[in-house]
Amino acid sequence: MRTSALALAAVLAAMPAAAQERAAGLRPNATSAEAGFWAVMDKAEAEAKTRADLNTDPALNAYVRGVMCKAAAAHCPDLRVYVMDRPFMNASMAPNGYSEVWSGLLLRANDEAELAYVLGHEVSHFTESHTIEAHRAQKTRANVVLAATVVVAVAGAASAASAGTASEAQSIMDATGNTIDLIYYAQMASFFRFSREQEGEADLLGQRKLAEAGYDPAAAAESWRGLTAETKGSDFKRVRESETRISVFSSHPLGAQRIAALETQAGTLTAGGDRGRDRHRAAIRPHLGAWLRDDLRKRDFGQTLVVIDRLAADGEDLGVLNYYRGEAYRMRRGDGDLAKARDAYLAAAAQPDAPVAVWRELGDIRRRDGDLAGARTAYDNYLAKAPQAEDAWLVQDSLSSLDQGK
């Protein structure tokens, strides 16, 4: 037993690509451990469909599903992908083919190729049956369901402890299956955790899937590198000094060796290939504002600014992006931030896609600066552009108080 496990481990380590890929369309035997994982995740998937943060934009969902299918090739019909509006870089793949892609990932991928790489990585966990591999000790469906129940119960208790009140805690404990929050996700993720070796294998297989689908394999290392830059941009020393993780739930850090392995393999694959930058931007463009607002609400403005810089690098969507850049500086309010906010709002105001709120914020910031004429112009602009805005009376009030020399 021991020898064969060691032998298998040695084989996996020596030739990661040679591991047995599951057949497309395969369903597990009803009494097997794998069927247990499927049962647990079928339930989680049913809950995902009712959640408040499920993104239901048909065009965006079609885009993400299309990229997933390119990466998954023959396995496409086995997979179901749900887009969730959550401002964290995360994608997940359950053993039953239920996959989540979070808005934080879509916002951070530079192009379709980078998204395809991350999805290819997730697809590889599925095609290599990594969950089953990670839980060899679980022999039957019943064992798996029991183990998962314990994990969810502990996650439930943990959620309850972080609830607002004792009675809320009780309500959460009672509502089994409704413990949907970050702690729950973290616990589920730890139950479905992959080993360092499996992550390395998924990286390399994901990159090969990327190349086979006709994308540029260089996108793989670039997507991980972008994430590292964001960690370094954090407002918080503890975050800056921590190792980058691929998602908030990932237990394995994104070390330099993983990026290096992707660069090495890229040399063996066909260079160049599709990046799909315009297609990606077109798909996420309608959501940029809402997702950046969600990102700002995490209140790590340095990280959001890194994301905005990357989105603005090619000179597109500069009205929206400069507005949110201004918002990040305004909300952070560090030394010199208000001046940077003003400059960003001014840059936004010169663009055709500037949100109308730019002029209200510009008015407020100039008023703080004592530039009363400038404030008046900005407020007048806001009222002219948005006479029906719900807060027009508030801006009118600010304007009147300027006139009264207050």
């Binding site: 959640r51 408040a52 208790a157 004792a166 009675s167 975050v239 309010r333 807060d391 600010s398």
Partner: protein, 195 residues
Amino acid sequence: MRTIFRALGPLAACLALAACATVTSAPAGAMKVGDAYEVALGREWSDISNIMNGRTKKVRLLSIDGPLLNRLYLSDGLEPGEYLIKPAAKETPTPVIRKDMSASERLEFVADSVVALEYQRVQLVRPRPAKLGQGNGVRFDLTAQTKSGLDVKGTGVISEQGGKTYVLLYLAPAEHYFDANLAEVEAILGSARLG
């Protein structure tokens, strides 16, 4: 695993000390929110401030049927640097009061504080002029969803007076519970006496 232990810490402490279940009655009649701030309750509420996660001294939390069904946040005057919702960690900050907030930043403070309570799709709507005591404020309504998709409604007022910010915020499920106690909340709001 670290997550579990850190999160279970407070619960374990509560169980050991039996100190976390101190819900008290807030009977009908005058209730002091702060030294110079009083409202009138039209009926008995439960004061669940003491069992609130991350409670701050200046914020009282009342409920009738439990915090998932109705909750009323009443803050005494918040000063710059103070918050409605206390952050769990330095790296996960919650909105704070600033000394030079604009009117729209005060509304942002309310909406983002509700986001910090982990409500989803939070939208602050219909800001309108209002009084809190003798001072001017902004009345607002709010729509949101719980994580599992239940529609929630809110209403309240935010008012800056003498450099301090007062917030009154009522949240309840849109179905039945919000409307059931709205008249009581309106009356409490109208009863505020400051200074």
